[in-house]
Assembly symmetry: C2
Homo-oligomer: 213 residues x 2
DNA sequence: ACTAAGTGCAACACCGATGTCTCACTTCTG
DNA sequence: CAGAAGTGAGACATCGGTGTTGCACTTAGT
């Protein structure tokens, strides 16, 4: 095995291809986790061979996507000040951010599932971040659910459902922008699900009028 | 239409095989929706060829399973008196029944998803039954969520999560029997998620704690 | 107990998805 | 501008899951 020196400089367009593939994969896999590489390449506007050039195997692509996803989650957790801000505020902000990422939540949800389908798990760091948030929410009395793991599951499950909700659903009515409405619904629903009284709670902040900020 | 292959008269033997296959399929597919027919046959203790004898194709098996599932849901909806009983009671009873069915909720969840994966939809009748229940819940002021479709999605999603929750989760503590604990958690969680304040449950438990912390 | 139906086993063809390779062509980069 | 790196297109091998068939054997029904 000769010490092969791979080019340190990746050509700009190659990097762009990689990005497009990952983006396309996120989109396509969000809808159908069993989508073909052909389908993904198609969505990315590239040839299937190119996908194989950038990613040695389907699994490699999945891994890379998972990694990217986890990084973004991690970034979101950080940006939402999950560890320092008032937990209810942090939850709302996090939800906003996650929706803003526009990443396939169906795929993201699969991160919580076992690897039987070939999907790796949510990174321990990201899980820990979420756990911290829910622990703080519990301590603050904003929710009654005790175990962070359960909260995480519920959060991700509802995230998926809200994401998949048709834009013209009556439950999305109140807010002006659609994203805001989704965040609103999501926020309300998780808090309720985890035993917190979202809208009328004195400790909770009420995002009724201007939810996006 | 029934997807089963029945030449003339079905031998009791064969019928039993069919049942075992359907049961095995429900179990296996609940964990991995992409499981092999081999895997299913294995679980049923039968040869793969036999599966093909009873069901012309994988899709046929899926259809039959879906049909069976829908029938059970329908039976549960009826048994829970969704149309006449006080809606909150009906919800609790329905949840009990559905958990009792021990059907793969992961698979059941897929019923709500699009047919991209080859999974057919929840039958209109069953959907209508659920819709009726949630409409009545809304009218009774037990929940604030307006659209039955959204309620349905949340209900099924949470059903899946509660089903997949490890038996030793701290959130399952209160009740004596595990099933009861799951029903309890499920009941509390859906009502909360849909904007209702979880009342004293029919089983006598008080799920809400005073926010003394 | 006799017969028809059902099953296990193994072999086989088939199909779709994955992964590899080559070659002509395009696009970066220095 | 020139060479290197990247790409598209297509052919090709491979692999796993599906569906079929034949044959020996077991089981149910009357």
């Amino acid at each position: 095995m000769s010490a092969e020196i791979r080019p340190k400089r990746v050509r700009a367009d190659a990097e762009r291809s990689t990005a497009r593939i990952l983006a396309a994969a996120a989109d396509v896999l969000a809808v159908d986790p069993n989508a073909t590489l052909e389908r993904i390449a198609d969505e990315a506007g590239l040839a299937r061979a190119t996908v194989h050039r950038r990613f040695a195997s389907r699994q490699a692509l999945l891994d890379a996507l998972t990694e990217q996803l986890n990084e973004r989650y991690l970034g979101g957790l950080d940006q939402a000040r999950v560890d320092t801000a008032p937990p209810v505020i942090a939850l709302y902000r996090l939800t906003e951010i996650v929706f803003d990422l526009k990443l396939g939540h169906r795929f993201a949800m699969e991160l919580t599932a076992d690897a039987r389908t070939g999907f790796p798990a949510l990174s321990p760091e990201a899980a820990a971040g979420l756990d911290l948030l829910f622990t703080r929410l519990h301590e603050a009395g904003a929710i009654t659910a005790a175990s962070p793991a359960w909260c995480r599951r519920v959060y991700l499950a509802l995230l998926h459902e809200v994401d998949r909700l048709p834009a013209d659903s009556p439950d999305l009515a109140p807010a002006a922008d659609e994203m805001g409405a989704r965040v609103e619904l999501m926020f309300r629903t998780v808090l309720g699900a985890l035993g917190g009284s979202a809208p009328q709670s004195p400790s909770g902040h009420r995002p009724d009028h201007s939810p996006s900020q």
